[in-house]
Symmetry: D3
Subunit: 120 residues, 6 copies
């Protein structure tokens, strides 16, 4: 059964491929720079993904939240740690963030369910 996460991943992969075809040098370089920003540096990738999650949450972008949550779960952040990071975003961003908090918590649950499925 396809979840909304599968739809997101399919659409994202398809349109990123389409954007790659467009072959605009500036856009391609920005995509590379975006990927590079989360690589090992003075900070480790795990910490950076959490920064990306909080930035996405206060800026209220569900797709960006989903993307960074996928990365955060891969990087082995635990649920309680993700909730604690989302709490910082909620306090900084206020109640206007709440719909995105609901979305984020649902995404975490979907990601945990996927992990369980893949193990069984």
């Amino acid at each position: 059964m396809a979840s909304r996460l599968d739809d997101f991943r399919d659409y994202r992969a398809r349109m990123n491929e389409r954007i790659f075809q467009i072959d605009h040098l500036g856009i391609k370089r920005f995509f590379n720079l975006d990927t590079a920003a989360y690589r090992e540096g003075a900070l480790d990738p795990k910490t950076k993904e959490l920064l990306g999650l909080v930035a996405s949450t206060v800026l209220r972008c569900d797709d960006c939240i989903d993307y960074h949550l996928v990365q955060c779960v891969d990087a082995e952040w635990k649920d309680e740690e993700l909730y604690d990071a989302l709490n910082v975003a909620l306090i900084v961003g206020g109640s206007i963030v709440i719909p995105h908090l609901r979305h984020a918590v649902e995404t975490i649950d979907l990601l945990r369910a996927e992990r369980k499925d893949s193990k069984s």
Copy 2:
């Protein structure tokens, strides 16, 4: 010689005191909740201050950036780590963040100069 950081700290302390006098229960509780969000939890305070810095930077609030940089330097984040976090904020938030990046880098320099002064 008073730096702009001293002015910020004075104004912030004076107006927070004034807001405390106003004695609005909701506002006081929010201030408490805001302080509590950065305390030890599933995440440690040091990590949370970095989250606060990145959230403040993508939301482009110089006063909030200064506040969290003070906390980040106190929490012993190194300059290179702060720059790496600011880079994540720059990529997420785009060139509109650049004036705040300039401000943040200047604040880091001012904070390091203060530390040096207090040791000499």
Copy 3:
């Protein structure tokens, strides 16, 4: 026949319940503070819901608009008064608010239709 408002109410109730289960003290306190902000104080709840509606509209959050419109209709604001408040939000926030104005006007119509149904 379920409207999009029923879907919104179901999803909101379900995910708020899930967030309650998570049992993060900071998040729970913020939810309480959010509820308390619209209770009787120096201003009455009816006025505060209108403030919440305008804040949600200029910040362009459809879920928040729907939530406050439900409360505003319950608080007996008339359609013409809601339109006048939305006009303030439109002037403050500009044409980028228009898609959310469309959404808000549709939600008002759906809420009035619900009231009619429940009376017949």
Copy 4:
């Protein structure tokens, strides 16, 4: 002694006059529409100014906050009512609003001092 409010009023008056000289039909019409949005309608001007204050606060614009606070004090909103409205803005907009809350509270104090001076 000129306060920062006098500076704001002078600059605002001078630049609005300059914008009027520019004589761009669209800009002039927008300014008229902006003024008209706060006039008597389904809602009274007093209520609308409070809506303008909250919208300005969640959108974090100090000049807009000052402008609407001047109007709100003229419309006889009491301090406690203004604080209660600012609390709604704080909850909706989060801690990123705090520097603007400090500014707003200071402006209210300056406006009250002006009133006292003009009576003595």
Copy 5:
């Protein structure tokens, strides 16, 4: 076969008609002013639509992006020119704009497919 663009156009037309029925003078005047802003002036309408596209993209409003892309394609902007404008929006607005870049590129493809269909 109805695309999401047809759904958008239908909903937009229907709700704009509904908003017209509401007959709020301020809202109607704002809609007129909004239309007028893109008419021939010191700048030509073609340039102004591109400005509207970039403004909509950095403010991250998919409906506004779609509306201005329809106008931009009608105004005979070529795909490469639209991509170059979207690149400016991406650099100014950062990676948080990427989901809207995907949406915009898909809309351009849908608009080109419509043009092809109408010619065949």
Copy 6:
């Protein structure tokens, strides 16, 4: 006599130099990409600077507005054309943009005065 534009240019140059010294690869690449976004491409640099101005105005960043106005005047955009672009930004972004419109109009006047001085 040093204008606020000179102060802005000095501070910007000094802090950009400082950021260059920091030598963070991601930040340096972003700065290069930012510069490149306004170079000749499918669109000419003159058009792109106007896009940058409107993006900066709706995102309400005075420093970014000043930077792009300097570039726009260098690119020979006339005052009436700049006002017409600012009108688009005002309509898209609403009255919250007005303080930045005042700032922009003042900057245009300062830039014209500089040009006159340098010719005399």
